[in-house]
């Protein structure tokens, strides 16, 4: 870690750019039992969860037949998530998966945007810094593993152990590839999200360090755009893995 510390010194030793401190690899550790956990991620995700819960409660507190305002917006969001799930999982079984896909999408979306839009720098931590929860690899790996468990559950509950017979479906040569795929799916899901969010924050931080005013704004907007797309991609992929696991290979072909 010696070189990283040197890099932080470089960034923070310039008095004109106090906002440009980069603290990759430094964490605010909490000790719970034998585990060291990244406290800043917990704090940030609690804020995100709180925001989501409060918004949902406010939107559903006084439900009208003709929606307006916040309720209207949340109904739009729900419809969006439902459509996404329906196109990926399929018309028949999609209903049961809407809560999971919706949770993944909303949590990732709010984390990404919250990391960029909430002024976390106002809160001083002893070490590390508050940022989007998704720019910590542990969060994204957890989300990806939830997705893995979900699609295994989907396949196994639908087809029983016959799910694994589908591994040899077109030809038995596919079996090792399918097994490898089970590992690469969560790996690529988690790395994609983590890398994109961290890259956004790094690009903005480096540009703020070079030119503190105005110039980073277009890239911040681009960052908001990519983080929204990443949330969409994660949810879409999770839904399509689930749909793929439940797909019937033996039955008649359907589109």
């Amino acid at each position: 870690m010696q070189n990283s510390v040197a890099m932080f010194d470089l960034f923070s030793s310039i008095p004109f750019a106090p906002l440009a401190e980069l603290e990759v690899g430094q964490h605010f550790y909490w000790h719970i039992g034998n585990f060291k956990v990244h406290g800043q991620v917990f704090l940030a995700s609690w804020v995100v969860l709180g925001l989501l819960i409060v918004t949902c409660i406010l939107a559903t507190r006084n439900i009208q037949r003709v929606p307006s305002g916040l309720q209207n917006f949340m109904e739009y969001a729900l419809e969006f998530i439902r459509d996404l799930t329906k196109t990926q999982v399929g018309e028949k079984e999609y209903r049961a998966w809407v809560p999971l896909i919706g949770t993944l999408f909303l949590f990732i979306f709010m984390s990404n945007w919250g990391g960029a839009l909430i002024p976390w720098k106002l809160v001083e931590l002893p070490s590390g810094e508050l940022a989007a929860p998704t720019n910590d690899i542990n969060t994204t790996v957890a989300l990806a593993l939830i997705t893995s468990v979900a699609y295994f559950y989907a396949g196994l509950s639908r087809k029983g152990l016959g799910y694994f017979a589908d591994y040899a479906q077109p030809t038995p040569i596919m079996v090792p590839f399918k097994i490898i795929e089970d590992f690469t799916k969560p790996l690529s899901l988690s790395f994609r999200l983590f890398g994109n969010i961290l890259a956004d924050e790094l690009v903005v931080a480096v540009l703020v360090f070079l030119v503190p005013l105005f110039v980073p704004i277009p890239l911040m907007i681009l960052g908001l755009f990519t983080s929204a797309i990443q949330a969409l991609i994660f949810a879409t992929l999770a839904a399509s893995y689930i749909g793929e696991a439940m797909e019937d290979h033996h039955g008649e072909h359907h589109d």
Binding site: N196, T226, I233, T236
Partner: protein, 82 residues
């Protein structure tokens, strides 16, 4: 840290991002070109084409991001710097 390992890590980080950007760059260019062609041929399908294009661009971008993750690991959490 051993200066050789430091130099190798920095070089490897640069190569990881630089080489990793080539393929997705070509791929994204292809995809965008085909999308423009599609829109020119059938302007009413623009919305659908744009949605699909953005999604696939993000997939290709992820490939470079993998290189970036490797580069960041080498720079900030180098496993060989004991």
């Amino acid at each position: 840290m051993d200066p050789t390992i430091a130099a190798a890590s920095v070089l490897a980080a640069a190569l990881a991002v630089g080489l990793g950007a080539i393929g997705p760059g070509i791929g994204q260019g292809n995809a965008a070109g085909q999308a423009v062609e599609g829109i020119a041929r059938q302007p009413e399908a623009e919305g659908k084409i744009r949605g699909t294009l953005l999604l696939s661009l993000a997939f290709m971008e992820a490939l470079t991001i993998y290189g970036l993750v490797v580069a960041l690991v080498l720079l900030f959490a180098n496993p060989f710097a004991s």
